[in-house]
């Protein structure tokens, strides 16, 4: 147990250490930098995996706390790192995807400038993500959440041209605005109900607070979710996400699949399930409005995606739409729905990262940025195209991909819940998803060959392997959805905890 307690801290510090080692490395030491990066990623994954058996099967909750903020009453508020299944779930996702993204980024950025800076912040970004996932209370969450905002700024601005800086500024503006809203919410809630340690089924203090001053509880909920909604790109707070597409492809992958958007939506899950508790939130009547917002986001994001002609922008709007599935699942107030939403947290991650990896590959090898540029890519870059196809099918929700699993689970959840109309949202969104992804797949495989314009079609191995891995995961996670320790099974476990 004692050893386990240290692991959460070790995982966070590991990435920080990696960053600290990488920052001062001179540009030319590519090998060393890559080695440190990969070693860090592998060790991190190993540590997270080490936590799975005790947490999931034995029900242990390794915890590490350090006093952080003084309070008037003596007991300081602590920074708490605690591992529960949901935390492990998210950390596992980020650990796996970080490893792959690191490999990809090493290949992608080969020969460009400022790599040490990039990888340094990259590691910090993951440190923040792991911190977010292991956070044991709202303050800790807030700390890492803001840290994430800060360390992603240099990544978005990485290319250092006017456009990147503008996008980064927009991102910063949105993210900080959201961060401030969260801060105010957390301060208020902490003052009223203590530091609000995350607890399965909701914190008791918060429940009591909500029972005697429901109005304040609703306002705090709105502040928290509104702030988190910025990062999770809920409409109308989503504009930063498509703009941030100017960043290098690994960063987009990170933003969309591993870290930023996920952090926001993970936060919403935490607030609904582990701070307020879903019963309390339901009684307060805050779930339905959020559900409606999520529904609008799902549809609107798909609609916007349909209108885009650039690959990356289409993917970005697709993220807007897809991430809200998680919110949809969590707020529909049914156990199956929560399980589906939580599972989609992982499913969306692996599918979307596949797509971004592939988009980056297309852009790198063929210079393809618009969908029409992809004509005939299936012939020249068959592996990339295959991976993209798997990802796209996942996004549409075709079996046997991971996307189908979450969609099905969410559909069942909707039918169990008091809001069966959500099924209509799911169906319409499936149609729209198909409408904007199938043409891409069609263009890839069956489009007319382009003329001499794009001749090359090299698929660099460092970029290809991660894409194939995630595509493989998409299928494996989908096919093996009922295996023990599969995302779906773990999210069912989590959902049971939520409704216990």
């Amino acid at each position: 147990m004692v050893v386990n307690d240290v692991i959460p801290l070790a995982v966070v510090l590991l990435s920080v250490t990696v960053a600290a080692i990488i920052f001062p490395l001179p540009q030319r030491l590519n090998r060393l930098r890559s080695a440190v990066n990969l070693a860090g990623a592998v060790v991190k994954l190993a540590l997270v995996v080490l936590l799975v058996p005790p947490v999931v099967t034995e029900g242990a909750r390794p915890e590490f706390a350090v006093p952080f903020l003084p309070t008037g009453t003596g007991d300081p508020i602590s920074l708490v790192l605690r591992v529960d299944p949901l935390a492990l779930f998210f950390a596992g996702l980020s650990a796996v995807l970080w490893l792959l993204t690191t490999v990809y980024a090493i290949g992608y950025l080969r020969g460009t400038a400022y790599q040490s800076r990039f990888f340094g912040f990259f590691s910090l970004c993951v440190a923040a993500t792991v911190g977010i996932s292991f956070s044991g209370n709202l303050i800790t969450f807030l700390v890492f959440y803001e840290l994430l905002t800060l360390v992603t700024y240099p990544l978005v601005a990485h290319w250092g041209d006017e456009k990147s800086l503008k996008a980064a500024r927009l991102y910063m503006r949105y993210a900080l605005g959201g961060g401030v809203a969260v801060l105010v919410g957390v301060v208020w809630l902490t003052m009223e109900a203590g530091p609000a340690d995350f607890a399965e089924g909701g914190a008791a203090d918060v429940a009591e607070f909500a029972s005697h001053s429901p109005t304040a509880a609703v306002i705090i909920f709105a502040l928290l979710v509104g702030g988190l909604g910025v990062k999770s790109a809920l409409v109308p707070l989503h504009s930063w996400l498509p703009a941030a597409m100017v960043a290098p492809a690994p960063v987009s992958a990170l933003l969309h699949a591993v870290a930023v958007v996920k952090a926001g939506v993970f936060g919403i899950v935490r607030v609904v399930d582990d701070v307020y508790g879903i019963e309390v939130a339901w009684d307060l009547g805050v779930l339905t409005p959020l559900l409606v917002v999520a529904s609008v986001t799902v549809i609107y994001g798909s609609y916007q995606a349909l209108r885009q002609t650039e690959i990356k922008r289409r993917l970005a709007f697709s993220t807007v739409s897809q991430v809200s599935y998680v919110v949809l699942g969590v707020t529909m107030f049914s156990m199956a729905g929560t399980a589906g939403g939580v599972a989609h947290l992982v499913h969306q991650g692996i599918m979307k990262i596949t797509l971004f990896f592939c988009a980056g590959l297309f852009a790198e090898s063929m210079g393809a940025h618009k969908i029409s540029d992809l004509r005939g890519a299936g012939q020249r870059m068959p592996w990339t195209s295959a991976a993209f196809t798997v990802g796209a099918f996942g996004m549409i929700g075709l079996p046997p991909t991971a996307g189908f699993i979450s969609k099905w689970q969410l559909g069942l959840g909707a039918l169990e819940s008091p809001h069966p109309w959500v099924l209509v949202v799911l169906v319409v969104s499936s149609l729209l998803n198909a409408a904007y992804f199938l043409p891409v797949v069609y263009t890839l495989w069956f489009g007319d060959q382009h003329d001499a314009a794009f001749t090359s079609g090299h698929e660099p191995r460092l970029l290809l392997v991660p894409a194939l891995c995630t595509a493989g995961f998409t299928l494996i996670v989908g096919l093996g959805a009922s295996l023990p320790f599969s995302p779906l099974e773990i999210s069912r476990l989590i959902a049971e905890g939520v409704f216990s």
Partner: protein, 505 residues
Amino acid sequence: MTFTQFSLGALALLPLLAAALTMLLPHPVRRALGVLVALLVAGFTAPVLGSVTSGELTELVLGGFDAPLGIHLRGDGLAAVFLGVTSLVGVVVTGYAAVLPKSTGAHLSATSWVTSHPGFWPLWLGCWSGLNAVYLSGDLFNLYVSLELVGLTAVALVAVGGQSAWEPALRYLFIAVLGSLMFLAGVGLLAAVTGTLDLHQTRSQLDELEDPTLPLLALTLITVGLAMKVALLPMHRWLVPAHSAAPSAVSPILSGVVIKAALVVLLRCWLWALPAVPGMQWLAWLLGGLGVAAVLVGSVLALRQDRLKPLVAYSTVAQIGYWFVAFPLLLHGEHDGAPLGSGAYNGLVALAAGHAIAKAGLFTAAGFLKDRCGTDKMSALRGAGAHHPVLILAMGMCAVGLLGLPISLGFTGKWQLATAAVGAEQWWVLLVVAAGTLLSAAYLLRGIAPLLLQAEVPENAPAAGPVRGRERLGEIAVLIFGVATIGTGLLGAWLGDLLEVGAWW
């Protein structure tokens, strides 16, 4: 006399002696001596911090004179925090100045202007001595004297910056003296009423007093006078030129610690010297209102600057506002058993301490860039970060502190301020904190983002020249500030414990 007590005395006197000594020495030796003294001072700070951490209040009566006239040094929580911060800033800035003498100003040698100014060393050491004395003083008399020492040396330090710095220095001088005169008048009034200058004795004397008018008048004079020295809006106008025109090694001292000296004096007067006098809240609200205005106006003005150092200086104006926003909350009672006043006070101190480190870092960086590129116009600094990744990283870390994002003392302070405000149901504070955070993000981004541009660094620009080893060392100074900004953020709880020692409540 224990070693801790000895340390108290040494902290106040050692730099002063060293300052006197340096005046007799040639320039290179001054640098070496300066670094030595800085390290010694830091060394003497450690036992004080240690004893305060263990909950002890160390006191020293110098020269055998006891209250009311003696030199009475008290190493309490407030003193310890600011001693620690000042030592940190002092050591790093001293090192920076020793490595890059260019940053110490410019002087006229025979016929031409030479960069580096030997006068920097005695002035800075003298200033440091004054600062330490301000923190440690347990009586109003010493507070006054040491504050004047700080003021005098600070004005001279600005003037060291060369021609362009003389006028700002003079303006600073007038305000500083006027402020101290008001302070003096207030102290005089208090002394006339109580017959003593010792903080504790004053407080107990005033407790028995029936008519609060005179203490209140005294407090008003003291407050206005010190607010001038702190540069609370709208009495901030001297600060911007003075801090911008000062040499690179001086601006961080001025913005980082010198204005904190006046703040400490203000806190001593409000919280230690005076009991809760009815009518005080009016003054507190006035300060709070000005604080809000300072946060907003300072940020907006920072946003309009096109040069880096004035931008950073206006950022100081804005940050000063936060400290005063806390004043109305200082007088509040309890909420759920948690004393709100102490929460606000903790927040204020954390904000000020965090600001000291972060702002010192940012000003060092700005000065560094100005020295290197010959200008601090932001349009000319585009892409300057290309050769200084470490510098940019460090600036970013300092910016975190100024923004009040976790992990930094700025966050700790804002958190405590905000919780105290929620407890007191002063919701406007939350709005101010939120608006201030966003505005400061805007101006800091405006300051730092252009440096990140990688596109066009003209070949012949000074920024494109090779970076010397010494300059790399200078960057390390900023990095230390950056790391310290983040690192101290973890010390929030410890800071709270420290401030318990010798607190007024």
